[in-house]
Amino acid sequence: MARRKRTSWEIQRAVLFALMMRELKTRFGSYRLGYLWALLEPLSHVAVFVIIFGVIMERTMSGVSYPVFLVTGIMPWLIFSNIINRGMVAVNSNQTLFSYRQVKPMDTIVARTILEVLIQMMVFALIIVIAIWLGEKIHIVDTFRILVALGILVAFSFGLSICLCIVATLNPEVAKVIPMVLRPLYFVSGIFWSLNTVPQEYHPYLTWNPVLHVIEEVRAGFFSGYHLAPDVDMNYVGILSVLAIGLGMALYRQEKERLVAT
């Protein structure tokens, strides 16, 4: 072949781009509204909960608009759960692509994570714009703090999804159990409530959950004067992220040959 050899970084980038484009096409390409679904899916999720809890139940919070409060909980949750749920099956649903030597199992997890982050961040921004347009008074206190918290969440979710993907690919029965375990997490992550409204004696039962810390931290960056419970600790989530990614990489090194079905 006449063309010069590509560097491994060029190959990596090309493969990730190809996977992401393909992923977009597979997920949204065959529908009439097409790529709009990428935004409509999470938007409708948020809308339903805002209507149920925010409007119908008329829950209120001192100084904070409840619908916006919900959004700041749902969006981090969606980032977490979508990375996990999509990443977990990334290898299995892309098996045919491993006939091309450039495409490695890890690439499919990375591509899905990047795509999910891009989609959800766009949705987050879009929802804020819509909320302002609807007359919500939004003044974000510390955007950087929010981005750091979400960045750590992405790292944690990515690491966990590598671990779960490897386990689920090698053991299909586990793949059925994981969503069952994740679902209850939805209710203990502080999407509908704030940790500081929970009596202190119950905190030890809740604060093991890293997603809760992230959601609280995002709100502290979002609302001025948010009552952040003192036991919210992003260092804890950071350490968990490092552990999850480390464990994921170690598992991957060990098992990557078995991930590709022969």
Binding site: A18, T96, S99, T262
Partner: protein, 219 residues
Amino acid sequence: MIKVVNLTKSYRTRGGRRYVFRDLNLTFPEGKNIALLGKNGAGKSTLMRILGGIDYADRGEVVTDKVLSWPLALAGGFQGSLSGKDNVKFVCRAYGTDDELPDKLAFVHEFSELGDYFFEPLKSYSSGMRSRLAFALSLAFDFDVYLVDEVTAVGDQQFKQKAKKAFEDLKGKASLIMVSHDMQTLRTHCDAAIYLEDGEATFFDDLDPAIERYRGQGA
């Protein structure tokens, strides 16, 4: 030249570890179209996959300065819900040839003779159409060596002729390593052979004695 150096490959089976190759050493000479012969389970496809970089050896390595294709098999490598066009796009992107994307799409569309089916999902294809697409796609890249695994039924008679001619046109530019149980196909394309048996490889400068030996095994 492609050199296989001290290659060991085993699989875990319920009955324990089964070795396909133990310290296999093998050289594929330059410019020859080589048939890989051997009984079922002799390791032909495994060797192809290792050459194609999609399976790992326990030990040893493949040393080459050539650009090898992916193993061309009939079914693999395509996503059923995507159109032929989108599948081709994916491979072109993964190979980092975005700049030539329109040319490559046009070539594959034309060569595969799929017509409007090119824009339909792969799952609506017949097996002949699938293999025509796979074949056309591989020709869109200038590989030095094409790894061809059991592509005996590339479409109808007329397309077979076209495929044969395409491989003949590649002579001098690219060579083939081919696995097939159809001796006619091998005779058409290959001029040397490697016989695999019990993890050993024997090189034959001529196809006929290798076929003799293969038949002699009562396969």
